[in-house]
Symmetry: C2
Subunit: 705 residues, 2 copies
Amino acid sequence: MTSAVSTLRAILNPRSVAVVGASSDPAKFGGRVMHFLLKHGYRGRIVPVHPAATEILGLPATANLCAAGDPVDVCILALPAGHLPAALEDCGRAGARGAVVITADFAETGADGATRQDELLQIARRHNMRLIGPNCLGYINPQLQLALTSSVALATEPMQRGAIGLASQSGSLMASLISHAQDLGTGFSVAATVGNQADVDLCDLVEYFIDDDGTRAICLYVEGLKDGARFLELAQRARVAGKPILAVKAGRSAAGRQITQSHTASLAGSYAVWEAACRDHAVCLLDDPEALIYCADFLIRFGAPAKSTVAVMSPSGGTVAVTGDRVVSAGLALAEPGETTRRELLKLLPPGRTINPLDVGGLPRASGLDSALTAYELLARDPAVGAVLIAVATTPLLEDKVRRWGAAALAGKTPTAILLTPGTLVDGARAALKDIGCPYTNRLDDTLRVLRAAVDYGEALRDPPPPALPSKVAAAARIHAATLPAGRLNEPETKAMLRACGISTTDDVLARSIEDAVAAAQLIAYPVVLKGVCRNLVHKSEAGAVKLDISDAGALRAAWHDIEQGLAAHLPGTTLDGCVVQPMIRGGTELIVGCRWDDQFGPVVIVGTGGVLVEILDDVQMAVAPISAGHASRLIARLRIAPVLAGARGRPAGDMVALAETIARVSELAAALGPRLAELDINPLLVLEAGRGVVALDGRATLAH
Amino acid sequence: MTSAVSTLRAILNPRSVAVVGASSDPAKFGGRVMHFLLKHGYRGRIVPVHPAATEILGLPATANLCAAGDPVDVCILALPAGHLPAALEDCGRAGARGAVVITADFAETGADGATRQDELLQIARRHNMRLIGPNCLGYINPQLQLALTSSVALATEPMQRGAIGLASQSGSLMASLISHAQDLGTGFSVAATVGNQADVDLCDLVEYFIDDDGTRAICLYVEGLKDGARFLELAQRARVAGKPILAVKAGRSAAGRQITQSHTASLAGSYAVWEAACRDHAVCLLDDPEALIYCADFLIRFGAPAKSTVAVMSPSGGTVAVTGDRVVSAGLALAEPGETTRRELLKLLPPGRTINPLDVGGLPRASGLDSALTAYELLARDPAVGAVLIAVATTPLLEDKVRRWGAAALAGKTPTAILLTPGTLVDGARAALKDIGCPYTNRLDDTLRVLRAAVDYGEALRDPPPPALPSKVAAAARIHAATLPAGRLNEPETKAMLRACGISTTDDVLARSIEDAVAAAQLIAYPVVLKGVCRNLVHKSEAGAVKLDISDAGALRAAWHDIEQGLAAHLPGTTLDGCVVQPMIRGGTELIVGCRWDDQFGPVVIVGTGGVLVEILDDVQMAVAPISAGHASRLIARLRIAPVLAGARGRPAGDMVALAETIARVSELAAALGPRLAELDINPLLVLEAGRGVVALDGRATLAH
């Protein structure tokens, strides 16, 4: 354990806490903190700090923390922003190991706030104190009955212990999740808010949870990551430790990204990169905060299914029909139980029934209870079934059936998601499940999220992407790039860099004059392509600087003049640096392959559908670079255009081997050059028939410095 | 009101009921019915029918309904299947106007059951009795405190009156919805199950609800419609009456379709056609049964928004970020409030906040309550805002804020969806909203469904598809088709039918010999296309019977031989009827345009992306035929390929006018020939540049008789 983690452990498991700005008034932040500390029965030492009061809620208060005896492990500060620096200094001087700052109006409100936040951070660093917040709501540690928070959720809710570790950038989301956990009969090892993450960030908490024996699943509400690479390293450690990470990330939309800025001063970064990184690192990405609890609880109690298939059963024909439809719509595969299972099930059922989804309604009354249980067990024990979904609707003997199903699920090895579709009408069944510790959901949306997360997590565990090998191109890329100036690379420069990395491009000739071009075309053989080269020209096609399928010298000359005139109209005063002449290649499938430097995760490699379909298909896959060719093959397989590449409708299959190798090389290039390669696009990369390779027809890049 | 509806009205609002198979044992169907009739306080006459008992639960029982005084309005029968025919005869003889048959094991279990079901139906018809069921759970009419059902839901739930009319093919779904309505503080005019729909079907109930003053929204759970055309007529009447219809339809997946068969003997039909029909007829199609209640309640209390835009606010920054993301992901447009609204809002808020989504957390304590209300009212009154979503998370003074928001929403004109994200923690706020009659949701999934349904319903009301005009092609189509035999039409026959309807095709020549073909090609001018014609040949391309881009007579002769050999290999023993020679046309965009006869809705016109993209894009739109060209334009606009047709990335725009006109003509052809035209495909229909029209390059059709 690093010393940073051990300090955080001490802060999250304190023997003593000081409340700076303590009050007995629950309408005030410092008052709520005091009330919750006492109400939930924290058994450590509590030191109220107040400039005047000698006693608060029966505890002796002090005006000077340094004079209050042994150093406290953690101070919580709920003071107006102006009083914070001095108070934080006091905490530091008194030897506190950590400080929790609830107060808002820091970096999230703009530059002035960011300066004030930095001031706090410097004070904390000077005193070797970890800082949680500012602009957070503190944390709870139910194992210690510690509620070190001002969240109003703690006014009514008891603190249920459990194995979920929660780190949230939002205080009120923590409150909502505490409430849902309580309702479902589950709870937390620690639930903490980190607000603006001035010092302690989500990754610190993930590291703590990985090392914490009491935590079995890690839930995150993320507005922005401070260090994407560290997050991915921790995700790898969590995978090895068998602790699933489940995350909700704000900022998928432009609107959401604006909010993360004004809420916790977080740069949300690219959601697409985040999504790709999570998928490759077995992080379950959810779209809904409350679903974190459902999914974490399910994974804690059942683990991931061994197979990615689902069997659906319900005592209601209508419910089973709708549920079957929705399971299929959610992209989950319905299991196909084996012949023995079928035979045994059909013995229990009225005629005409299907096996999956399975309608277990209308069973003979006398044997109904037993048959309902037997039906479940037959499905759950079938080796073709990865997980079972029981959609519970009203039926005679409901509570008994549900209790038996739940007990059998907990006793068995097949993850089983129980959905209770009616409202309070079936609260008895909910209580029965809580009673035996069996998770359940109340809405099919959540049931499907649970199954999706469990299936995806299982697949990620079984089948992690192959590791990237030592780079074949790193040295060449660095040597080549060392000679290049910062700024935009034109097409010949970009292609030269690609060739240095062993990526196939067209054999181009850069002609400085029409006559050079005519000679080059003669050599290349008609038909040829002519493209204008000019450093300031970004959108060649729009400037009319791309001429395809030129069949003879006359047409070539005309094309050169057209390009000159087009450039003059498009960028007046700019002169042409020349034109590239290249062979006209027909057929194949056009892709875009490239890379970007991402502020959170670093180098990212991208592959997508090119050409006229770009907007329609919106067909892009990406991964944090570098990746192996095997990993690149997975990105290709996930493209919507994949069937065409594979040879749909009688077309020849594309050269998937060369394509995967090229994507891997681009990813190695991206990793090798790091932030220097701001972006690179091969557009189009033409994928030829299997065995004929791929070829970069055009390309551009930007070097950062 | 038709007499059928007035009979149904009498049955659903009975002055007297008989329970055939009555019992005092609540474990039996007939016992539950008796208990629920008494428990919920039905004030009409109740006649228990039993072969031996003289009294059941304090009411005098009879063995012979005919001897029991005045005829009863409705009998409910819960007897073993074998006893039903005789009992139903008794009911008929006693003058009952309707019978509800709960017993299952009829058409849903196969052919024998279907025969037994038909026998019941004949008995009912003979006695002029309407039959509800079999395989149903009866109905409730809370206005009369009538629970004429065996559903266990009625054992615990009171029956809340309300303005939702529910017709369900599933009994336990009705139970679940009764429970959810109760939880939300809303209820039903009538909630009825129709099971196998042997006689009374969903449409009968829709018609009843349209005429019923107590019903303001109509909810349906559909497994199969008996008469799609009638449903669409009723949907039109409901639209005029201002009563939204909301529906969940099972059978979207193959698995779901199997279940509808074994559950209520319903043929689910094509979900895609159903979806298209609902969209064009202002029927809100939902994917989740419980959401019916949320959406119906919302539309009853608020109506549809005048604009299709949403403003989002929350006192939690995290919640507002996630909610903003999800609203955008759901395809809902965020409203852009005007300058005045912005200015006024910014006065209330800490610096740095965005306007929509709006984070109203951290308001100054003294003015917090007022500011939270003012913020809502500023948004709700802004003319750019169609609907407001308030995502309520924990915040100080939560209940007061929520009560004020709810009251303001009910008093105002802007539909407002209130989401309560925490669990039981905020049950106080839920009670406050129930108290004032303001709808709310507990999960964002449902909030988004509510807003989506309300926005879609508003758009459908404002902007119904233009009506189809009298057909331009009906007479020609009928005359042309009268000459054709049943079975598959080959390419020349199909194209002749298209031309008869004014649809442009290539100018083909059907050549019976190679020399004819050479002569034809000379006339048409090279390059040409040669295709084999043979009635038994369905998949021309797979048999190698399509040869493109033939440039001279030599190539043409070779192509003819290739086609002959390919056919011999593909369909041994079959001879070629000849080959069509057609001009080779380049460019344009390939679509598929066609029609199908649908068992539920009749003629359906289809347009979709053709060519190599078919599988990838899965890009199909359809409508119940006939449709106008204006309506066809909407189908085109909804295609994913629409941007390419409109001229994306510098390509010329396609001839959208000719395309829309062609789709309309195909729809008229489909409507004119009715079930005789089983299917027709123009594949591909080539869409040329604007002004150059469209042209059918190939086509096939099947006539039914």
